[in-house]
Symmetry: C2
Subunit: 342 residues, 2 copies
DNA sequence: GTTAGCACTCAATCAAGAGGAGTGCTAATA
DNA sequence: TATTAGCACTCCTCTTGATTGAGTGCTAAC
């Protein structure tokens, strides 16, 4: 168990390092207002804290730097939540100023503002389309041999896909098909659509229209392929500002990771609630060993969920980011649930 | 006018520098097979070429480097077109292997393969949605007070937008509205829709339904906002490989530029035909002073157009990129025009 | 007209030395 | 006994100067 003085010193060191990105020396700490003891005392305590694994040295005679364990302790025990100033709040509120209800628009704007306010990179996951339910199914013929299939979900999301019509397909055949599909698919979730299609609908369709399997196949691949939640980025190049990323290779690895949907998805932990913080190697991705990722989720309507992530160096301003994310998740949840009566 | 020998030497220098990214010395050149004269002779010629502005020195006793004027001369006069090898052709063909007709999918894949084959960054512009014509207009109510408006175009593109319904809006009112809109809007191009809406449709709608102006307004902003062609990227971080971009600031400026739609759009010159090459400061963007941009266009259907850009250092392998783009534009044009009978 | 030879320039690399920030330890102090 | 002043020591960083090597320009010979 750490003494009070050790806590104070650890906090001062982490705070200082977060601010200036330079190894922190005993003299530097002793000059702070809240610190009343001499550099020598501080050096003794620092040696102890290092032995306990909370601090590290970059070389024998350098100042101290927080270790991952140090950051972890800091966020777990020393992170007294802090309000954010009214200018920031105002800026967040500005997202909702124009009365547009368009989900996509709001999320995009949120991503930008979050990256601006934090000066880190933000990633927002849109609603999880998987679980939307089919509201209406329709087909619009474009020419004699092509048409567009359109699925509207209960949340107003629209999926569409072009496909080829069999030769000489008549308008009445088309109508029949649309009717069958609406009868069977309305109320089914997008993630279940392909099951339903293959298990039930295919057989029925085959009795009434030609080349039903081609069509069903096209529809199945369309809905299966396109079912991940959309990803929005803000401040992709913000990390260039951080001194720890003055190394081209690191930046490149992270930027490449962000181009890979599956990698980005795995940054999130949708099942945990509240705000999660992963520090350095606590992230599964090797590319992220110098980064911390702070994530949280927000609600869209009754049963949908989106997620937010902020990516920064391990020397991230945890206090501020956590506070901002907290405001953001609340505001987004509020905005997306009030005007909706599905 | 340059002598034959000067041409030969200029070409050798540019080729060598493109390959090795190092200032080229007279000895280096003299060792090439096609060069038969001594280093001293080459030095004399190089001094002349420098005086003419085709070459530059990085310092008094360094080898020579092509100037922008040198590159320009090279691409204009020394770029004997070169075939590309069959492995490359095969890889390009692989884009069209799966029989998917989905335009978006093909373009996305093309962007990736182009960046792989060139090891530069590729940008592809999708079809210009502006000029699509409305094929069908429909509205799907989601709840008592929200609905989705959907526009399908003659090319199978789908635009959609959520909007609020006035209280107690009846199904018959909705039907009437959809009918009016279909009567008036089918055949109108997306870029003209807002004119038509405000000039004609609004008045008619006002006679039949409540709060028509709200609705029309929502529709106008929706179609005006969303009307740029979609942009696809390949190999965004490829430039990290180039020694001239080992400078964080340069990379950052270019990456930032690529996040700004308007900036990206202005890289293209859709009115010129064939293949355009902009070298260094020939680009209007300040961020691009170390880059060359090679662009071309391809056709989608009868009247649609897409565009391709490759961004690399001024020391770009012009020969190869030009050859690849030529194949690409032809293949894309072919793929997008054969199976379509709009 | 071409080329060999030579003096010259300049970037890049390396070693040595000075300066400075910071530590750990010891002895003095409260 | 806990704290602190003092001092020797470590190691990074910056500067300086010397060395090396690639490459040039010029001149004189071929």
């Amino acid at each position: 168990m750490l003494t009070n003085r050790q806590l104070q010193i650890l906090q001062a060191i982490v705070d200082d390092f977060i601010m200036f990105a330079q190894p922190v020396g005993s003299r530097q700490i002793s000059k702070k207002q809240e610190i009343t003891f001499s550099p020598a005392t501080i050096r003794n305590e620092m040696a102890d804290l290092e032995e306990l694994g909370f601090l590290e040295k970059t070389h024998t005679s350098s100042g101290r730097v927080p270790s991952e364990k140090g950051y972890r302790f800091y966020v777990d025990h020393l992170l007294n939540p802090q309000g954010i100033n009214s200018r920031d709040i105002q800026q967040i509120q500005s997202i909702f100023n124009d009365r547009l209800v368009e989900v996509e628009h709001i999320i995009r704007k949120s991503a930008n503002i979050l990256s601006e306010l934090t000066s880190y990179t933000s990633i927002l996951l849109g609603p999880d389309v998987h679980r939307h339910l089919v509201k209406r199914f329709s087909i619009v013929p474009l020419s004699s041999d092509t048409a567009v299939a359109i699925i509207v979900t209960n949340n107003g999301h629209v999926e569409n896909r072009m496909f080829n019509l069999p030769p000489n397909f008549t308008a009445s055949e088309l109508e029949k098909m649309v009717n069958i599909l609406n009868d069977r698919l309305v109320g089914v979730s997008l993630e279940d659509i392909h099951i339903k299609l293959e298990a039930e609908v295919l057989a029925v369709l085959q009795q009434h229209v030609r080349s039903a399997d081609d069509f069903v196949h096209a529809l199945v691949t369309a809905t299966m392929h396109n079912s991940e939640s959309k990803i929005y980025y803000g401040g992709k190049t913000n990390m260039f500002n951080q001194p720890e990323f003055h190394d081209l290779n690191k930046v490149r690895m992270i930027l490449d990771l962000m181009e890979t949907t599956s990698q980005v998805q795995s940054l999130f932990h949708p099942n945990e609630s509240g705000i999660q913080i992963r520090i350095g190697s606590e992230n599964k991705q090797l590319e992220m060993e110098n980064c911390s990722v702070i994530t949280t989720t927000y609600s869209i309507g009754e049963d949908q969920q989106g997620a937010i992530a902020i990516i920064g160096p391990t020397r991230m301003d945890y206090k501020r980011v956590v506070a901002l994310l907290d405001v953001m998740r609340m505001d987004l949840t509020l905005a997306f649930t009030k005007n909706r009566s599905d």
